[in-house]
């Protein structure tokens, strides 16, 4: 017999979450730039159990040609989950969820790159998730933004992000799968250019009051700025140059 969802406890008597984290604590993040030799730019990101690899190819010729934009480069983003990356085996064919995430993520990254410098070209970003536990679209986005930087593309800023949300009656940061299954779960993935707090990706599922929503935005803003520091460190590790100097 499976436990009723309502009986599940999301915070223990000390206010700790199921995996021991405090309310707004995020899981450990590991970032590595330059992991795929053949690509023009690449990165690996581990966020808790989530594992994503991103590769950038381009700017290169847009095929088929009629899709080319005469004014700027076009970012094409492919978010894919490996069949073994989820509890049940996923069909390898991309599903509607993957296509939607690819669309909004590609739009988010388009804001961060100076696309006008490369008219008529394609910049292809391939991201594969190899392991998952809630929050993969943001994990993928961090990897993709690092890969774009690694490819030497001119960028306004890095794209950082986090999924904030709600479970067991409280707002939380960086929810895991267990919390995502709560009966009152809210998932609010958000991505920003942290330097000027431009919101480039924002989605939400679940029931939030207006006040809770505003709080979520503020939690996200703080986290994005911290995560950006981790991204910068990962780039420094590869390039040993100060990416913050020009901000």
């Amino acid at each position: 017999m499976s436990k009723k969802k309502d009986e599940v406890v999301y915070f223990d008597e000390k206010g700790k979450r199921f995996d021991g984290r405090s309310q707004f604590e995020i899981r450990p993040i590991t970032l590595k730039v330059g992991v795929i030799e053949r690509s023009d730019g690449s990165a690996y990101v581990e966020w808790g159990q989530n594992k994503a690899i991103a590769a950038v190819y381009g700017p290169r010729e847009m095929l088929p040609k009629h899709l080319a934009d005469a004014n700027k480069a076009t970012i094409r983003y492919y978010y894919r989950m490996a069949p073994f990356s989820v509890p049940d085996r996923k069909n390898p064919k991309p599903g509607r969820r993957e296509i939607e995430i690819s669309k909004v993520s590609g739009e988010a990254l388009s804001h961060s790159v100076d696309l006008e410098q490369y008219p008529n070209t394609a910049i292809d970003i391939f991201v594969t998730i190899f392991d998952s536990n809630a929050g993969t679209r943001i994990t993928a986005l961090l990897a993709a933004s690092l890969a774009l930087a690694d490819a030497g593309l001119p960028m306004k800023d890095l794209v950082s992000g986090i999924a904030v949300g709600k479970a067991g009656g409280k707002l939380i940061a960086d929810m895991n799968k267990h919390e995502e299954d709560a009966s009152d779960a809210v998932d609010l993935p958000i991505a920003m250019l942290p330097n000027n707090n431009d919101i480039v990706l924002l989605q939400m599922d679940g029931v939030l009051t207006e006040k809770e929503f505003y709080e979520c935005l503020d939690i996200a803003k703080k986290n994005c700025q911290e995560i950006r520091e981790l991204q910068v460190s990962a780039l420094k590790e590869k390039y040993s140059v100060d990416f913050n100097s020009g901000d």
Partner: protein, 268 residues
């Protein structure tokens, strides 16, 4: 969408003075009209116009096998056809990524409002559940398909009848077993950012001039139940807060109009 390049410039010029080509105020929606249950083979249907945008939604409620991990829950499925009859730029063929995004945002607006009690859509645990298929066709595209489709789906759901089943869980043709119960009335509000101006319910020309899109679904208790940001542009935090609060403010007005139309059309 090169075709509206000139018009886009006009839109931007007017917005410089917080004016819209359509004379609407920045946060005004276009008028809606709705026809209900004119399609007999659908279990529920609505034809909705939002300004010159016109869409039709048809509901089919079918007995299906439940998913293994939710043996006692019904489900919904939203499919939106960006029909090539409605816009010279829409092609025939399998759903595009635009169509998939649109379908999924409408799906989440309805699903996440928890207006449909999926447990009540269970026929026999582990064996049969109701699946509510919501299929939507665009007939004429004059912008803001998000709000038009969501509201049309809501109207169709609210007048949908549940088929009668025989002992073997087969549908008895043309007999019904009551109405679909909808506990919430989620309404989607879509904004466009053009330059640094924001307008509600963009028409097609405004969409062509848009940098970013923001949609938020609100229920009668003024909660937010679904959000989607789109396009290459970005929003500031304050802009997002402002749009959310505008949507909440506008909810009662839109819901009142919507309900009035529904009541005038529908017997139950």
């Amino acid at each position: 969408m090169q075709e509206y390049k000139y018009e886009s410039e006009l839109v931007k010029q007017e917005l410089f003075n917080d004016k819209r080509l359509s004379k609407r105020k920045m946060f005004d929606s276009r008028d809606i009209s709705i026809e209900l249950n004119t399609l007999q083979n659908a279990n529920g249907s609505a034809i909705l116009t939002l300004g010159k945008t016109k869409v039709v939604a048809g509901i089919k409620i079918m007995p299906e096998t439940p998913y293994p991990d939710t043996p006692d829950e019904g489900s919904i499925s939203v499919g939106i056809e960006l029909s090539p009859m409605s816009d010279p730029n829409f092609g025939s063929g399998p759903p595009s990524e635009d169509s998939i995004e649109l379908s999924r945002v409408v799906d989440r607006s309805i699903r996440e409002s928890k207006g449909l009690d999926f447990k009540k859509l269970c026929i026999k645990e582990g064996e049969k559940i109701w699946c509510v298929y919501i299929d939507i066709y665009i007939i004429n595209n004059d912008g803001n398909l998000f709000d038009a489709c969501e509201l049309c789906a809501l109207a169709a759901l609210k007048c949908a009848k549940i088929p009668k089943l025989d002992d073997e869980f087969k549908v008895v043709k043309e007999e019904y077993d009551g109405h679909l119960e909808l506990l919430k009335n989620p309404i989607l509000f879509t904004f466009a950012k053009i330059g640094d101006k924001i307008v509600l319910d963009p028409d097609l020309i405004e969409e062509c001039a848009s940098d970013a899109r923001f949609s938020v679904a609100i229920t009668e208790d003024k909660n937010l139940v679904a959000i989607q940001k789109g396009l290459h542009g970005a929003f500031k935090i304050d802009e997002v807060k402002n749009m959310a609060s505008t949507a909440i403010k506008n909810y009662d007005d839109v819901f009142l109009k919507f309900n009035k139309i529904l009541k005038s059309k529908s017997a139950h």
